[in-house]
């Protein structure tokens, strides 16, 4: 599936919920499927700056695809990073760099996350693209 297809899959999933509390329940649920970062990578330099809670993110390049793993100490942040991982992980660095990630706006995520948390979301996306950029330059 392309990034855009994965995004529309997520949008479809969320369209079942009218209430924002239900949407949050789903975000929390998604957090449980997050491919967890291994303990060896769960260190300070892998903490995403600009998040109000602690979010760790790691990336590996396997057969030309970027594989993300992550974790967070807050459940909602964990759900959000899980959504981003679900959309972006397993793609080529270039596709990740080019990803527009319109689903964030579509789902109304930015509006419904408090400004500080929304900053966190921006930081998460930025960090993921930075990894992709790094792999691209090495290649």
């Amino acid at each position: 599936m392309t990034i855009a297809e994965r995004e529309s899959e997520l949008i479809d999933e969320f369209s079942f919920y009218e209430d924002w509390m239900e949407k949050y329940e789903h975000i929390i649920e998604l957090g449980k499927s997050l491919p967890l970062i291994s303990e060896e990578h769960k260190k300070d330099e892998n903490i995403i700056k600009g998040c109000q809670s602690t979010v760790w993110l790691h990336a590996d390049l396997q057969d030309g695809k970027v594989i993300f793993t992550a974790d967070a100490d807050a459940i909602i942040a964990k759900g959000i990073i899980a959504m981003l991982v679900q959309v972006l992980s397993g793609n080529s660095p270039q596709n990740i760099i080019d990803a527009k990630l319109d689903f964030i706006k579509e789902l109304g995520l930015q509006e419904h996350l408090s400004p500080t948390r929304s900053n966190g979301l921006v930081s998460m996306v930025k960090q993921m693209k930075m990894y992709a950029l790094g792999f691209n330059m090495k290649a």
């Binding site: 109000q52 809670s53 909602i76 996350l113």
Partner: protein, 406 residues
């Protein structure tokens, strides 16, 4: 006078708003208070009918504007029971007031002089003193915190030395709600020849403050936490002390004469009020305090205490809740955590249900370090809050905990 909360709520248009499909439950009064209609109206009236610069023009509007600004100063003087209106200095807020004192009082300090603060201060009453450590080599000492959120005042005699020039202390802790016995502290400091600055940012809206009765040398607060607008605050100082202090910022309004060689400074209060001030802010702050003076503050205190006791009792029904700050004398602030749940998660889900609380370290990192926690969730009440709102808050909190605790 009977305390009628529903009538008071009528005066606050914002309290009728909705957050999504939920009614707003505003429990972030420690951060800022909402504004009564009279304050909102006063701001509008100023711009519609009175706007002009003050202390300058001879024209009609400038005179009206100046008169109203100076009238506000007198209202504030009377509210604080200061001896003179020129002991009331308009500032941008509490932070600005403390920075003014740190800058002006700081010019009189020498290397090795001590400023005594407490472990429960807001960053705005820590950082300006840290800056003087770097600048002048002063020493900052702390009155320590006890587990229940009270200060360990048994250390005071030892901490006050012949080098302690200033004691700067909060009246009420923004994170823990602790009401400090400042009158006793001031008395002790004065016996030692130490001047005292009171941070009243969290107290004026909850309790009567009389600067002559307290005998504090300096006191600061923010307009926006006492039902007034943002961007304006007050520094009260005893006349003798303010006269001794060098000016803070230079500019218009604070001068007597300026030649190319030198400046002579204006008298109090203008010496500390350089530039065009927040005129409408000052005037509307006067309106806010005039409005507040219509209440019996003992009744307000009693009602808020009732709210605090009720909220404390109800929140304890939720499993895993731990309250931070259990001082014997406590203002209506409830700081807490729920076991194994991140405070930001709870804050987010409370917000989704219309409940406004603050999460984080509340600009008091030393307190958080003391308890070894990253932050808390803080519900802070005002006298326009109700027990019904507390019930709704608890229901929303229980729902959040159920969602997050699974």
């Amino acid at each position: 006078m009977i305390f009628e909360v529903e009538k008071i709520r009528e005066e606050f248009p914002i309290l009728k708003s909705q957050v999504g499909k939920y009614p707003l439950i505003y429990l972030d009064n420690g951060a800022t208070s909402e504004k009564p209609q009279c304050v909102i109206d006063r701001i509008q009236k100023y711009y519609e009918e009175e706007n002009a610069n003050i202390h300058r023009g001879v024209h009609h509007l400038s005179q009206i504007s100046t008169d109203n600004y100076e009238k506000a100063r007198k209202i504030i003087q009377s509210y604080l029971n200061a001896r003179f209106d020129h002991e009331i200095i308009f500032t941008k807020g509490t932070t600005d007031g403390i920075n003014l004192v740190a800058s002006s009082f700081g010019k009189l300090l020498k290397e090795g002089d001590e400023v005594l603060i407490t472990e429960m201060e807001h960053h705005s009453n820590i950082v300006p003193w840290h800056m003087l450590v770097e600048e002048k080599g002063i020493v900052v000492k702390y009155i320590p915190l006890k587990q229940n959120g009270e200060l360990d005042l048994s250390t005071l005699d030892e901490l006050l030395t012949d080098r302690t020039k200033l004691l700067s202390i909060t009246h009420i802790s923004n994170s823990l709600g602790t009401i400090n016995p400042i009158k006793e502290v001031i008395e002790k400091a004065h016996q030692n020849g130490t001047k005292v600055l009171i941070d009243a940012a969290q107290s004026l809206q909850h309790t009567k403050v009389d600067v002559q009765e307290l005998d504090c040398d300096l006191l600061v607060f923010s307009g926006h936490k006492v039902f007034g607008p943002t961007g304006v605050g007050i520094l009260y100082g005893k006349e003798e002390l303010l006269n001794e202090l060098p000016p803070y910022q230079g500019g218009g309004d604070m001068i007597k004469t300026v030649s190319m060689e030198r400046t002579t400074y204006n008298d109090l209060p203008h010496k500390f009020e350089a530039g065009t001030p927040n005129i409408v802010g000052g005037i509307a702050l006067g309106t806010a305090l005039e409005w507040l003076s219509g209440f019996d503050m003992e009744q307000v205190e009693a009602y808020e205490h009732e709210l605090l006791l009720y909220a404390t009792k109800r929140i304890k029904e939720i499993e895993g809740v731990k309250i931070y700050g259990e001082a014997e004398h406590k203002s209506a602030v409830l700081s807490f955590l729920v076991e194994n749940i991140h405070p930001y998660d709870i804050g987010t889900l409370l917000n989704q249900q219309g409940v406004a609380v603050r999460t984080g370290h509340h600009c008091t990192q030393p307190i958080m370090d003391f308890y070894s926690i990253p932050g808390t969730i803080r519900a802070s009440f005002s006298f326009y809050n109700t027990k019904e709102e507390i019930d709704q808050f608890i229901t929303a909190l229980q729902k959040a905990v159920n969602m997050l605790g699974a």
